[in-house]
């Protein structure tokens, strides 16, 4: 926390070292979140790239009330949501249609080097409607409170809790189905 405050301050003073350090410190977390939310490597990379570029340009205007990690994760979640809206047709797919996040589209130019585990989980998550996926991931993986998620999306806490509950139930059924197989 202390390091982040100093990094932010130095970044706001124009330090390129601070920007590099922030990038190195949080790139993996952001990519993980984006990958599992987007279910698409290219989209995830675009989202994180755009978040960092926008952050790099924000030195003069940035006003951070919470912690840096939460701020960046929220930025990723927001951008991933926008990207998802733009790609509505990908929103929910059937089990057989779900494409793993790493998938066949991997090329040497890709930014992320993904594990099989990420690939597996991305295809599982892809079976959840986006809103449910987002609630589950932001709460469990990004450590955000329901209230924070609700605020960032402009919906009620109960809506988020409902999405989370439905998401978890569906996830349970998918995973238990996997076990039965």
């Amino acid at each position: 926390m202390l390091e982040d405050k100093v990094l932010i301050w130095k970044f706001k003073c124009g330090s390129s070292n601070a920007l590099c350090r922030i990038y190195e410190k949080y790139k993996k977390d952001l990519l993980r979140l984006a990958a599992i939310l987007s279910n698409n490597v290219s989209d995830a990379e675009d989202v994180v790239h755009d978040v960092f570029v926008s952050f790099a340009q924000s030195a003069e205007t940035l006003k951070l009330s919470g912690n840096l990690k939460s701020y960046l994760l929220t930025c990723v979640a927001n951008r991933a949501r926008n990207k998802n809206r733009a790609n509505q047709h990908r929103q929910t797919v059937g089990l057989n249609e779900a494409e793993p996040v790493v998938s066949q589209s991997k090329t040497p130019e890709q930014w992320m080097i993904c594990s099989e585990e990420l690939s597996r989980w991305s295809s599982i998550m892809a079976q959840l409607p986006y809103e449910q996926r987002e609630a589950v991931i932001l709460h469990l993986r990004a450590g955000m409170k329901f209230r924070q998620i609700a605020q960032s999306q402009g919906v009620s806490v109960n809506t988020i809790k409902g999405r989370y509950r439905y998401g978890l139930t569906k996830l349970r059924s998918i995973l238990n189905g996997e076990v039965k197989k």
Partner: protein, 303 residues
Amino acid sequence: MRSAENIEKLVKNLDLGIDTNAQTDQAVLAELLDAQKKSMKQQSAFILQNIRRFIMKSPITKLAATAVIIALVVLGLFELTGTESTSGVVWAEVARKVQASLGSIVRCRATTSFQPSDETDYSIRYTSQRYSRKDVYKAGQITESYYEDFDTNTMTYTMTYFNHIHKHYMSRTFNKNKNEFFLEQHDQWMNPRYLVQRILSGEHRNLGQKTIEGISCEGIETTDPAALGPLPGPINRLEVEMRLWVNVETGYPVLFENKMSGEAEGKSMESEWVMDQFQWDVELDPSFLEPNIPPDYVDMRSL
């Protein structure tokens, strides 16, 4: 069958081993730095650079990569550190006296490996409970002045900088909610009111007595970096040496010496810092500590 709790735990603890392509990392970073550079308008960059210079003026602060931020040394700690000597100086009492001092005046001299040594000869710092002023001297002239106003009612910290050579000034107020760590500047170890506390907060040893400029003094020394308080970032090979000499008769500090060396952001740095010619419990005229901007001075932001 997995339970809901089990699913939650599973998702929470997933190890999604993910790495990044080093080559792409470099390209992305280059793009980010370019974006940062472009977004920092020349004018703003100038202001920010100067604000940083303003805050980071002290070489030792620079060495620590930035300001030593959170200073939370409670007086109760002194009882635990056990420095009380048998020769008369009660260090906890020195700390209390120094802190209770109405105002102080001190001369500061610093040499560093990373700032031109001919930039300043010395500076004089005036400190009251709320305000402080530092005048930087070169060849007998005041070249720069720094004013600080730490308002505990509004929890704001205002810094005003004057460059008397170019007739420039700059003032900025930091608010606790937005810039909380700036507020802690007030009680960092370089503030004469807190330097005794700082030394006592680290492991320290008694140096015994010696005469300094005809005054019988007793000293303590610390080589414990903890005396600096929490550091804002990693500093490698950090070595600290602080010595404080106190007038046995009055119980006030007369000489403070500090040497530091370390590596921050890949650069080795060394600095030496001496505070002497102390005057304690001085009543300073508030108007003297107030930054009055001369009409012919230009706000740096308008440059």
